[in-house]
Symmetry: C2
């Protein structure tokens, strides 16, 4: 684990969360934080711990998951550059999810107390935080309706469409991370994820290993019943 001070991190400063805040304040936040490199498959924090850091994934891949006593379930796959567990940090409450790296990752760790303190002083940061939390809330509403209203192959289809849209609407792309994690995120077993890919062949999806090609976007969309409200602009 390598520690390093942040010289200048333009991609972090450009994040919606920090973009509009006072420059001196931002400098204060960043200089009080650590940019740290973690190896793959490392647990970053556990459910139930008091939130000590706000995380910003700069590079790599992180999984957030919740644990029952029988099995775990993936709640979110975090891609760079994104902050996560903001809610626990804001309210100074225990994490509701655990986190682990899926790949070697560079993560900015902002001390939670520092974050809360600067939020109180900098209105722009507070507003951005509010905005971000509202977006996160809406994401969760969508995830819950997805779970309740779509069946498994439809969820996969919907995920592929959203994923493709988030990555520049390329019709061909590669899945990041393992399929078992994707299966857990989508609330199904790895076996059923395989079968779901099989089902989607008839609805415009060609999959070879991690390589996905959406050959008929309209058909896939019809099959997976898109949300009535289009995704939020971020």
């Amino acid at each position: 684990m390598t520690f390093m001070r942040i010289g200048e991190k333009p991609e972090i400063a450009r994040l919606p969360l920090f973009r509009d805040m006072d420059d001196a304040m931002r400098e204060r936040v960043l200089s009080g934080s650590f940019l740290q490199v973690f190896p793959p498959q490392l647990t970053l924090f556990e459910i139930g711990q008091r939130a000590d850091f706000l995380h910003v994934l700069v590079d790599g891949l992180v999984e957030l998951y919740a644990a029952g006593d029988v099995r775990d379930t993936t709640m979110r796959i975090v891609e760079p550059v994104t902050s996560y567990i903001l809610a626990a940090v804001i309210n100074d409450m225990p994490y509701l999810m655990s986190a682990r790296t899926l790949a070697s990752s560079r993560i900015l760790l902002v001390p939670a107390a520092l974050m809360r303190e600067v939020i109180k002083r900098d209105t722009a940061l507070m507003q951005a935080t509010m905005h971000e939390l509202a977006l996160g809330y809406r994401d969760m509403v969508r995830a819950l309706t997805d779970m309740k209203l779509r069946q498994s192959a439809e969820r996969l289809g919907h995920y592929l469409l959203e994923h493709s849209a988030r990555h520049g609407d390329k019709q061909e792309f590669e899945l990041s991370g393992e399929k078992r994690v994707l299966a857990s995120l989508l609330g199904m077993t790895p076996e059923n994820l395989s079968r779901a890919f099989g089902t989607l062949k008839a609805h415009g999806v060609a999959a070879r290993g991690a390589k996905i090609r959406i050959e008929d976007r309209a058909a896939l969309s019809a099959f997976s019943r898109p949300d009535p409200v289009p995704p939020d602009q971020r």
Copy 2:
């Protein structure tokens, strides 16, 4: 539909959302809002509409639900005194859920634009909003894990425990609203809700119609596998 100005609404002023704000600002918000009475089974707004009002349920019962093309699903049952759809209002985005009254309800309607404007001016309100959104986010995280990790009878058991805890830990209480709505909230059919009550008989729950008595809290808790993190203090 009766319109009325608000004279003084102490229970609204005491809400966490409005509690800490400047008195003059609060007066401005409240005097720009309407307290309105709606009959049961009335649609308050539809999914996809631009958020025009923040709602505060003062009295009655409201259901928030999301619609697929095949079936709907209940997302939340709002009890007084609580605000809802805060996220859509803050971000000036379309509602992700529709709302209908389940009983005759008195609702405070705060114009969304007014809300956003006052939030910008009053830091205490902004902070309270941020706090509230973070709590809402955490609620949704719990709801999603509930859906993914518990099976139906366990979800019911968990719901009964939480519901009872929210209402002063009484061991006997009455379910508000129809069971079909509860079934939809819990992500099951009414038929299976009945059967789930049957299953819970063996785990310390006596149910006669809407009357529920938790006879063995420990047994029910063991059966429904409580969250690893206790409910957030509000």
